[in-house]
Structure formats: structure tokens, C-alpha cells
């Protein structure tokens, strides 16, 4: 019968704790960032999109996939759905990108007291998700508009706007509210927050070099490039079939699924690589 108690996977309650902790905290940091005033410099918006250091610090301290996954879900459920900023399909890419960025960042750090490693991980987490997100956004505008290239000035303006937007985001969210607070918080919270959750602090491997999971990052980047290339191809495909509007109506939006599907496959592969790459001694959930 099913009533027999099945042996539960080890430490699943610890995973649940980490998941809820990051979920609630990233929800609240997004809500607070949302209400802070923003000001506009021409078409460019200068504002804090999130206090991204909160999930980064927690992912570095716990090196857990569940913590990385909880950050974008918290943002989605508690900030975007409530304030109606839910962007539909686009949000799923964001979940994949942010989870991968944070997970790899957590894997990169070997020595939590080493400031250089923390800085590298924090920068990586932000750049990975935001730069790729910017490219995906651009291709999405491309696919979403019927005769995108036919309108002069539009492709250039979208590209310029998105790139400037990225640079501003990088300076404000990435450096001021990402890198600097992470350097301040990570060493201070280390050894304090773990006992509160009943978890052993992460092992410090003194002198260990920054762990760059090449296979993980390489796999992620190659696949993202592939996804981008496919959406470029689909963009070209639009021009070919432009004279046949009925065909476009039927099959046009099929292309939007290609990058998303590829991104999903990549995420699964990356996580699988990360699991098999997992060295001994860095698992905190002892």
C-alpha cells in the first residue's frame, strides 16, 4: 500500500527552508525596488530594478540549486503577478537565465572569505542574466513585429536603446546594488545565517583558486548563442515568406518557441552537468 512511509530524500526539509528563504527575500527586495522612485533621462530609465545582492549573497553562501531557483520564482510570484508586470512568455526565459546565473555564481566561489572570488561571482551572476536577457529581448521585438526590417531606423533604434539600457542597468543594479553590497554582506553573513537554519557553514577551501566551471559556463553560452542564431534565422525566414501572409499567420509565431525550447534544454543540460561536476567537500548539507 501507499501508506508505507517511503524513505525521504536526505535533507529535503533543508532544501525547503532554503527555497522559502530565498523566495520570500527576493520577493520583498523586488517589491521594495519597485516602489523606489525612478527618474528618466530622455528615453532611458535610471532606477533600481532589484536589490540583486540579496539572492547573490544567499546563493554564494549556500551553493544550492534550490536557492538559485527560488530567486526568479519569488520575483515572479510576489512582485510581477501582484503588480501586473507579468510579461507572459518572457518571464520563463528570465527564470531560466537568473537560475543559471545564480547557480553558476554559487559554484564559482570556493573560499567565501576571498573578496576577489565573491566579486567575480557577483559580476558573473548579473552580467550572465542581464546581457543575454537583453539579446533575447531584441530578438523578441524582431519576431513580434511583422515587417520589422522594412521600417527604416527601427532595428537600429531598438538595438541602441537596449544596449544603453543594459549599460545603465549594469552601473546601477549590477555595481551599486549588486557588487558592492555583496562584498559587504557575504563575509558578514557567513557563519551567522547558517546556524539559524540549522545548516553547517560552507567549507572554506583556503587558497583554492576561483572555480570556473568551464563545462557549465561553456555549455550555457554555446547553447544561448545557438538559440540566438536560430532566432536570427527565423528572422530571415520572415523576410522570405513575407509575400505569403496566410502562411505567416499560420506558422509565424512558431519561431518564438525555438529559442525558448532551446533555452529550456540548455538549462536542463547545465544543471545535469553541474550535478555530475559536483566535487566532494563543497556540499554544505551534511
Amino acid at each position: 500500500m501507499e501508506r508505507v512511509l517511503r524513505p525521504e530524500r536526505k535533507n529535503s526539509s533543508k532544501d525547503l527552508m532554503l527555497f522559502i528563504l530565498v523566495l520570500a527575500l527576493s520577493g520583498i527586495e523586488n517589491l521594495i525596488a519597485e516602489v523606489l522612485p525612478e527618474f528618466q533621462l530622455g528615453p532611458i530609465e535610471v532606477g533600481i530594478s532589484s536589490f540583486i545582492f540579496v539572492p547573490i549573497v544567499l546563493c554564494i553562501l549556500f551553493d544550492s540549486f534550490w536557492a538559485a531557483l527560488a530567486a526568479p520564482i519569488g520575483e515572479l510570484v510576489f512582485a510581477d503577478l501582484i503588480l501586473g508586470e507579468f510579461g507572459g512568455l518572457g518571464e520563463f526565459e528570465e527564470v531560466i537565465l537568473l537560475t543559471m546565473g545564480l547557480y553558476i555564481a554559487g559554484k564559482m566561489v570556493k573560499d567565501v572569505t576571498n573578496r576577489k572570488q565573491i566579486a567575480a561571482a557577483a559580476l558573473f551572476a548579473f552580467i550572465f542574466q542581464d546581457l543575454i536577457g537583453t539579446f533575447i529581448d531584441m530578438t523578441k521585438v524582431w519576431v513580434g513585429i511583422e515587417d520589422f526590417e522594412a521600417i527604416s531606423g527601427l532595428p537600429e533604434s531598438v538595438f541602441a536603446l537596449e544596449m544603453i539600457d543594459f549599460l545603465v542597468e549594469f552601473a546601477v543594479t549590477g555595481i551599486i546594488f549588486g557588487l558592492i553590497p555583496t562584498l559587504y554582506f557575504a563575509p558578514r553573513l557567513y557563519g551567522k545565517i547558517e546556524p539559524l537554519l540549522g545548516i553547517k557553514p560552507r567549507l572554506i577551501e583556503k587558497g583554492a583558486a576561483l572555480n570556473v566551471p568551464i563545462r557549465l559556463i561553456g555549455g550555457a553560452i554555446i547553447a544561448v548563442i545557438a538559440a540566438a542564431a536560430v532566432s536570427m534565422l527565423s528572422g530571415a525566414g520572415f523576410n522570405i515568406i513575407e509575400w505569403e501572409p496566410e502562411f505567416l499567420d499560420q506558422f509565424g509565431q512558431w519561431y518564438i518557441w525555438v529559442p525558448i525550447t532551446i533555452a529550456a534544454i540548455v538549462a536542463i543540460v547545465v544543471i545535469w552537468l553541474g550535478k555530475s561536476n559536483n566535487g566532494e567537500g563543497q556540499d554544505i548539507n551534511v
Binding site: 501507499e2 526539509s13 549573497v57 531606423g153 533604434s157
Partner: protein, 268 residues
């Protein structure tokens, strides 16, 4: 300008907290909140995906109009709607200005209108549905769709605890300001004061993170003493927990009418 200024003044931590409270302990009087949460989520999925399959602006406008009517019935928060409109207008203006400076013409704006319409339709649908769904019912709907119990529980717990956390964050900010020393000179464009406030806003996360960790451990341990992890893997327990969710005639009618309207829009 005055009504706009009044609206802008209301965008602060208190209003978001109120909105959260309303979602967490929300009204159960509107049409949508009486429907089955699973039906609402299916409805939302349909209207989140449908706009991506059209380029015709007349059809998109009709779908947008229908979703607007549903949102009006569901009494969504006016502040949230206002923010949404502001965002859409701002985005349109951005693209128009840049396209103009790069030598494009105003046809760019018309082309972007279709994309903006799609995004606005999806946003409206999400506001209508998620401001009317009780978190408990939302998480049970997720559970019955086969989502992991841990995720479903986390979401309903989060909806309850986040208003408390917003309150706590406000208290920490206030106590920092009471004990701290505000800059005596404001500086150019009062940058010193802005810097001071932003620094506190970041530092206030330190006690918040530690307090949250403590609170969550207490909750999870209490749950585990009741056998949460085991119970949630047991199909009998799940069936018992979800037995109150029943799809009634009203739910079916709502979904069918929506789909019929959508089909009518597509065919015409």
C-alpha cells in the same frame, strides 16, 4: 496635473503593503474570486498565449477590449492599473523618440503598437486573475496541476508572510533613521540625503535576512513535526486536501463563453 500628482504620491511602501494584504486576505465578493482557481488559471493561460498568434491589430484590439471588461468586473486595484498605463505610455514614447532621432519615421510607432497591445493584454489578464485568487486556493490549484507540494506551500506561505516582512523592513528603516545621524548638508540636488537613505535601505536587509531565516526555520520545523514531507508525497492526503475544489456549472460557463468570444474574434 493634480489628479496625476495625487496618484503618484500614493506609490509608496504603504500602498504596496495594502495591495499585498488585499491579495493575501482578499475580497471574495467579485465574480472571478468565486470561480474555481484551476479554471481561472486555464483562462489566464489562454489569454496569455492567444495574443502571440495574431498580427492583425483589429483582432488584438478586440481581445484587449474583452480582457479590459473582465478586469473592470474584477475590481482590480486602480493604482496598479494606473502604473501599468504609465509604463505603456512611457515605453511607446521611448521607441518613438529614438526612432525619430535615428532617421526613422512614425510608421515605427504604428508597428510597435501591435507589440505593446499584446503585452498590455497579457498584463491586464494577470492583474484580473491574480488580484482575485486567494493564495490558499492558488497554491491548491498548483498542487492539483501536479506542481511539487513544496512549491505550492512556499507560495501560499509567501503570500501570508510578505506583508509581515514589509512591515518589519519599514520598522528597521525607521529605527536606523532614529538612531542614525542624517547628513546636515543636503548637497547638490540633495545627493547626500539620497545616498544616506539608499545606504540605509541596503543595510536594513542585514537584520531582515537573519530574522527571516529564524522565522522560516521555526515554520519548517513545526511543519515537519506534523510530517509535512511524508504527507505531501501520499496521494490519499493530497486527495483529501484538494477535495474541496469542485468545478461547478458557473465555472464551465465562464470558460466556455470566454473561449467562444475568442473564437468569434478570430473568425470575424
Amino acid at each position: 496635473m493634480n489628479p496625476f500628482k495625487g496618484m503618484l504620491d500614493k506609490i509608496n511602501v504603504e500602498s504596496v503593503e495594502l495591495e499585498l494584504m488585499r491579495t493575501a486576505y482578499g475580497s471574495t465578493t467579485t465574480l472571478l474570486s468565486k470561480l474555481d482557481p484551476r479554471i481561472l488559471m486555464v483562462w489566464y493561460l489562454i489569454f496569455a498565449f492567444a495574443p502571440w498568434f495574431f498580427f492583425d491589430s483589429a483582432k488584438l484590439l478586440s481581445i484587449f477590449a474583452f480582457v479590459t471588461v473582465i478586469t473592470a468586473i474584477s475590481k482590480a486595484n486602480k493604482l496598479v492599473l494606473f502604473l501599468l498605463c504609465l509604463g505603456i505610455i512611457g515605453q511607446m514614447a521611448c521607441y518613438a523618440i529614438v526612432a525619430y532621432f535615428l532617421g526613422g519615421n512614425m510608421a515605427a510607432l504604428a508597428a510597435l503598437l501591435t507589440l505593446t497591445l499584446k503585452l498590455a493584454t497579457i498584463s491586464l489578464a494577470s492583474i484580473a486573475v491574480f488580484s482575485n485568487i486567494d493564495p490558499e486556493r492558488f497554491s491548491d490549484a498548483l498542487l492539483s496541476f501536479g506542481a511539487p507540494a513544496q512549491l505550492a506551500f512556499s507560495i501560499s506561505y509567501g503570500y501570508r508572510v510578505i506583508p509581515v516582512m514589509v512591515e518589519e523592513y519599514k520598522d528597521i528603516m525607521l529605527s536606523f533613521r532614529l538612531r542614525g545621524h542624517a547628513p546636515s548638508k543636503k548637497g547638490f540636488l540633495s545627493w547626500r540625503y539620497a545616498y544616506y537613505l539608499l545606504k540605509i535601505a541596503v543595510l536594513a536587509f542585514y537584520p531582515l535576512i537573519l530574522n527571516t531565516a529564524k522565522r522560516i526555520r521555526t515554520t519548517i520545523e513545526a511543519l515537519e513535526t506534523k510530517g509535512f514531507s511524508y504527507a505531501m508525497n501520499n496521494n490519499d492526503v493530497k486527495r483529501l486536501k484538494l477535495s474541496y475544489l469542485k468545478i461547478k456549472a458557473a465555472d464551465i460557463i465562464f470558460l466556455l463563453v470566454s473561449i467562444l468570444i475568442l473564437i468569434a474574434i478570430i473568425l470575424i
